[in-house]
Symmetry: C2
Subunit: 487 residues, 2 copies
């Protein structure tokens, strides 16, 4: 199903919707998760913890979102995290200069070009405001970080534009007190903030968004010595080595041997990532690791792959995988004078960093995109998510309100509600109630009917095939627990 | 144990530490959770979801932290969320005027007094800067919200100073699409931001902090018609009706009958709260609901109780319980023109709001305060948290590195690590490893020794009593699962 249909589901079933929507000054690029969305997101994050963090023995942090100016001086964001923009002198509309030039004159001025290049292109091609043909102001840099002023003296600090900076800055303490051993992943799930000029497409490009970032600290001389590589060596990944090349399926082992992936450490984490996404229910047959060319990759990355998945919006980047070498630790060590070197056995080493920077909101969108289907023969829309990711895990439905069915259902509901995301629904015909549960992906429903009062059994109805069977009330909890289990 | 000892544990065992600590410009009032702290906090939040949200059928949202200016116009924060401050003309030190006056001259000028009153008091009592006796500037209001500028035009928006505003603003949509029925709790766990003039005491007063807020929307004419009141009517709470009065223990039923608590709805949620905190392991014998006088309570609250707990820092407010009546919905309805009225049966009603505003960081601190003990006879420090809240749930310890014990332990660890917060520890004498686990509250440890290789049994060591027993490897998972279960 397409973007509009997913948006309709999101709005009408409590997945997500625009922030401050009742006010006309609601800024664009801010979204809220409703009750269904919160439950869905929590389960996604728990799966990430299970299959990435705990599986690999990573250390998860939760740092401040407001960070000191020095952090972004060292990281390069204060000087480099900026877009070239221009403004219409008549209507004040603001445009990204590179995009406007490319759209108006089909000329490419790279994002990072000197400002004069943009001005020259605008003049040469007589580019004006697309809205009212007004003249454009000189191009300037617009930094995408949000500044905040601390205390009455308004000292400058910034909302982090990526979660990873705490992982770098906190490395010396955390590695020490947690008695770390290289290679070790540091991870963080949380909000990041970017003052985008044109936020768009709901969860796809927001100004405030969730990241789940992993920074693997490693000894650069031991990138091919990784015992646990064997866990994923047969895992198949789809590697695209250049924008003009066809992606190729290969095992992680083949990827390293053929040189497609530079070393075992990188290949191991790419394999882990694919195994994780497979468990989210995303169709991993539609993924690719696209290697970025010199122009496209971030300035700090020596090798970079984007993990992309095909959706109804085209290929979406879900995870940026960057080998950042010692860029970050060197910069922070230099400015802070803190010591980032650690012992690896007998060797003193300044760790290198391999990063997996995941967009959580986009990942959730992609799961919806791959899971929502229009089941026309049965006149229903079904969200076929994995049971362990389902926002509602079980519906509890009394067939009728009367004759003690409501009370019996409520009694069963009470035994389930603390542990499971259970939903009690009594209003409307039973078929309509099943369809509502299907739309929020509830994998099971329990119906309490007249037979329940006689023999203590209920109907267990399954979402995808709509199979029904009768089970004993005393078996409900163990059955559900089994059905919701991780693979 | 006292604040300093808890801080030592926090720093040395990865619970929490100051943000950006490697930089001299790290702003005060920002803290990070380390790996142990993240795990602990996640379990606390899960317990909150279990015992408050799911138990009561509340709707949880996750909204934007940056919100539009209108929201805070309507909420009153733009005009009223401000402290009176004054600055030394010589050294630029900034003080809260009311605090400075009270400390220097023992005179009370209420926080909300007109600015002239502060200036007059400063003049009358010849109050100067405590640091260098410099003259003080005229008192002005300092708004504690952090402003952020959106987009290249720098349109004003604010970091939310409380999570509850999304719950109000989103009420019309969420109540409708989730087919809400009064009374219904809306809840949110997330960050809030306050530009405090004097942040202090680590997790106690921060500029960026976690709240878990609940807003119960209810029909004001039905506050004593609450079927589920019976679930808590025998729960005992400790109510303190005035600052000069002794707190009194009573059941929730007695509290309503005696008029100590104004109605069943309020009493029900206070009871729920005490039951929740009891399960966190906080000693609820040391709690009180302190009723706030007219001067102390927030301007929107018609009745207000602070849930306070006695700690080594004195009485700490963990939850503010405010009956906000229709203050919020009326204000937002007026400014936004959105309709906040809903149907309650046949009656059209503008809901009233009862709020439970929980400080998460302070709650975590209080659990540590009540759980950490110096077990001198055994030369150890033990964090006796409830097993289901333990940051590390099980330690896996090979007695020696050699003779296949490491490999056997690693094999057992692999079966546990995805599901549990398991910690594999091989370094140091076994007694030292037990003590390290005790400090992070791991309720159990499994030791693999020579006997394991012979008969497939391991030692299960319990934290509090240090009891040891031998169990079969095949029984480990079911035993742990049972030992970690919620009550």
């Amino acid at each position: 199903m397409n973007y509009e249909e997913i948006m309709k589901l999101a709005l009408e079933r409590g997945f997500y919707f625009q922030s401050c929507e009742i006010y006309p000054d609601a800024p664009a690029g801010f979204w809220e998760y409703g009750p269904t969305g919160v439950s869905f997101k929590n389960k996604f994050v728990e799966l990430w913890r299970r299959e990435m963090i705990r599986r690999d023995g990573m250390l998860e942090l939760d740092g401040s979102q407001i960070m000191s100016k020095s952090v972004f001086e060292a990281s390069g964001h204060l000087s480099s995290f900026a877009d070239p923009i221009t403004k219409c002198k008549k209507c004040n509309s603001v445009y990204r200069a590179d995009k406007l030039i490319s759209e108006a004159a089909n000329v490419i001025v790279p994002e990072s070009a000197p400002l004069e290049d943009f001005d020259r292109a605008i003049e040469e091609h007589s580019i004006v405001c697309p809205k009212d043909k007004g003249q454009l102001e000189k191009v300037k840099k617009f930094n995408m970080m949000f500044r905040v002023g601390i205390g009455p003296l308004d000292e400058p600090a910034y909302l982090r534009p990526e979660t990873c900076q705490s992982l770098f800055v906190d490395f010396p303490r955390v590695f020490k007190v947690m008695r770390g051993k290289l290679p070790v992943g540091f991870a963080q799930y949380g909000k990041s903030f970017r003052n985008e000029i044109s936020p768009r497409q709901s969860l796809i490009r927001m100004r405030e968004f969730y990241q789940a970032e992993i920074e693997v600290f490693c000894n650069p001389s031991k990138l091919n010595e990784l015992e646990r590589f064997k866990e994923i060596e047969q895992t198949r990944i789809n590697v695209m080595l250049g924008d003009d090349e066809q992606p190729k399926w290969m095992t992680c082992k083949e990827a390293v041997e053929s040189g497609a992936i530079p070393n075992k450490l990188v290949a191991y984490y790419l394999g882990l990532l694919v195994e994780f996404y497979e468990k989210t229910g995303i169709d991993v047959k539609r993924h690719r690791f696209r290697k970025l060319g010199a122009k496209e990759k971030a300035f700090y990355a020596s090798v970079a792959f984007d993990f992309e998945v095909e959706t109804s919006l085209g290929w979406l980047e879900l995870v940026a995988c960057n080998y950042r070498s010692d860029y970050d630790l060197t910069s922070h060590a230099k400015l802070s004078k803190a010591n980032f070197e650690v012992m690896d056995g007998e060797e003193k080493v300044l760790p290198h960093v391999f990063e997996l920077s995941m967009g959580v909101d986009r990942s959730l969108y992609t799961i919806l995109d791959h899971s929502l289907r229009d089941d026309k023969p049965n006149e229903r829309v079904v969200l076929s998510v994995k049971p362990y990711l389902a926002p509602v895990q079980v519906g509890v439905l009394p067939l009728m309100k009367k004759d003690g069915l409501y009370e019996k259902a409520d009694e069963i509901f009470a035994t389930l509600k603390r542990r499971y995301d259970a939903f009690f629904d009594v209003s409307g015909a039973i078929g309509r109630r099943y369809r509502r549960l299907d739309e929020v992906g509830a994998p099971f429903a329990i119906t309490i009917d007249y037979q329940t009062l006689q023999d203590g059994t209920v109907t267990l109805r399954e979402r995808d095939e709509m199979k029904q069977e009768r089970i004993k009330i005393s078996d409900i909890e163990s059955r559900i627990s089994k059905l919701l289990a991780y693979p």
